[in-house]
């Protein structure tokens, strides 16, 4: 998918319509990332709103010449969600999250997303190698740096990179055909 630079530039000029279209394109994925971190729909909804308000207010800090817009959104979403998990109110009300990852969510969810071919994807994700699940969860959903992930998973950086590539490549064949 080519990045919609025109829409991004219009949003940076204060165009609400362009912002609305960008929200439609990215909000579900961002919501998925946030939900995988906080594991509570109401909290995730609030954070999603926070994230897009931040995007609107700080739109000028993104440049289409530097980095992917999606990556920029990812960073804002993960940081905001992780900040929330560190808050006192969140710690007091939530169970231990350390063992949950995106596959657990997929496996336990009854109301799967209708927009994507979630059923087929679920089957595939269920079949993902445990190593892939861990790598994608840390690097993509939890926002670990490669060095942090390499240390956490106790695998060399080079191995981490190639394994991550293989995992995402498998995913890609499944998703995009």
């Amino acid at each position: 998918m080519e990045q919609p630079n025109d829409l991004i530039l219009e949003m940076q000029n204060g165009n609400e319509k362009a912002f609305s279209r960008l929200y439609t394109m990215y909000s579900e994925a961002i919501y998925g990332i946030i939900y995988s971190i906080v594991l509570d729909e109401n909290t995730a909804e609030e954070i999603l709103q926070d994230v897009f308000i931040k995007v609107w207010n700080n739109a000028s800090s993104y440049s289409v010449n530097k980095g992917r817009f999606f990556t920029w959104l990812l960073n804002i979403a993960r940081n905001t969600a992780i900040d929330e998990t560190r808050s006192k109110a969140f710690k007091n009300s939530k169970k231990n999250l350390s063992t949950t990852n995106f596959v657990d969510i997929l496996s336990s969810s009854d109301s799967l997303n209708t927009k994507t071919n979630a059923i087929g994807l679920k089957k595939f994700v269920d079949a993902l190698k445990p190593a892939c699940i861990k790598i994608i969860d840390l690097l993509y959903f939890k926002g670990f740096t490669q060095a942090e992930a390499s240390k956490t998973l106790e695998i060399p950086l080079g191995t981490l990179k190639t394994r991550n590539r293989t995992c995402i490549n498998d995913l890609r064949v499944m998703v995009l055909g």
Binding site: I33, I53, F70, L121, K161
Partner: protein, 264 residues
């Protein structure tokens, strides 16, 4: 590095995840600019990850977008009202300018009023000055006359009224015999009727010879109702008659108002 090597390195997946170091990010961005296939590869990786995250998301509530919209519009409104607040100095400026103009107009009107009142006063002043100078002249004349009459060179005589014509009338004569100058005070005479004028005569008794001194008119006026006459023969008596305007060659005795002898 070739495009294939970069794609196989696994750095593009980390780039999309945001897990690369800043130096590697610069490297990848250089490759994106250089190789279209690297850019295309990144777009495919991004699409895969985007779909994966979407499958994990519970259904998004429509309210979320409404809330976001309300929130950014409120912020906008706050900014708008800030702008409006920032306009306050301009509004104050305009108000001050209008007040200032009003003030200037008021002051112009005041100045006009003052100017016209000043013109009136100046005119009044001029009139008063003229009156004053007239009165001063009159006073000087009177004083001069008074000084003359008070001097020892002048003798005072009263010309009583003619019993048949004007019994109440009288005139006073102040006479300098040495120089034959006479001042005649006509305050005791009634005002002459229209078209008539008083004429003063010097009289010799034997034989009766009247000589005209002149008319009681502005040409001989020396003060308030005082008239000066010169150049006449030594008088034995003075008479005043009422004559037609311009005077007469000989006195009209039927209209003799006053007559008095000059004795000693």
């Amino acid at each position: 590095m070739t495009a294939e090597e970069i794609i196989a390195s696994g750095n593009l997946e980390l780039y999309v995840c945001g897990a690369l170091s800043p130096e590697e990010v610069i490297e990848v961005e250089k490759a994106i600019a250089k190789y279209p296939e690297v850019k295309r590869e990144i777009e495919l990786i991004e699409a895969s990850l985007l779909h994966l995250a979407e499958t994990v998301a519970p259904p998004v509530q429509a309210m979320s977008w409404t809330n976001i919209l309300n929130s950014i519009r409120n912020l906008k409104n706050v900014e708008d009202s800030k702008v409006r607040t920032l306009n306050l100095p301009a509004i104050t400026g305009w108000a001050a300018a209008i007040l200032f103009m009003g003030g200037i107009m008021w002051m112009l009107k005041q100045t006009n009023d003052l100017n016209s009142s000043l013109r009136v006063t100046t005119t009044e002043n001029t009139v008063l000055k003229q009156e004053k100078s007239t009165i001063e002249n009159q006073l000087a004349k009177n004083n001069e006359t008074l000084e003359i009459l008070r001097s020892k060179d002048y003798q005072a005589y009263t010309l009583p009224g003619n019993q048949t014509v004007a019994p109440e009338a009288f005139a006073k004569v102040y006479l300098n015999k040495k120089e034959n100058v006479a001042y005649i005070d006509v305050k005791g005479l009634p005002a002459p009727p229209r078209g008539k004028v008083y004429q003063v005569w010097s009289l010799k008794m034997d034989p009766l010879t009247p000589t005209s001194l002149g008319l009681i008119d502005f040409q001989n006026e020396a003060g308030d109702e005082i008239y000066k006459f010169i150049n006449f023969p030594d008088p034995e008596a003075f008479g005043i008659t009422l004559e037609p305007e311009g005077g007469s060659e000989t006195p009209t005795l039927s209209q003799l108002y006053t007559l008095g002898m000059i004795t000693i």
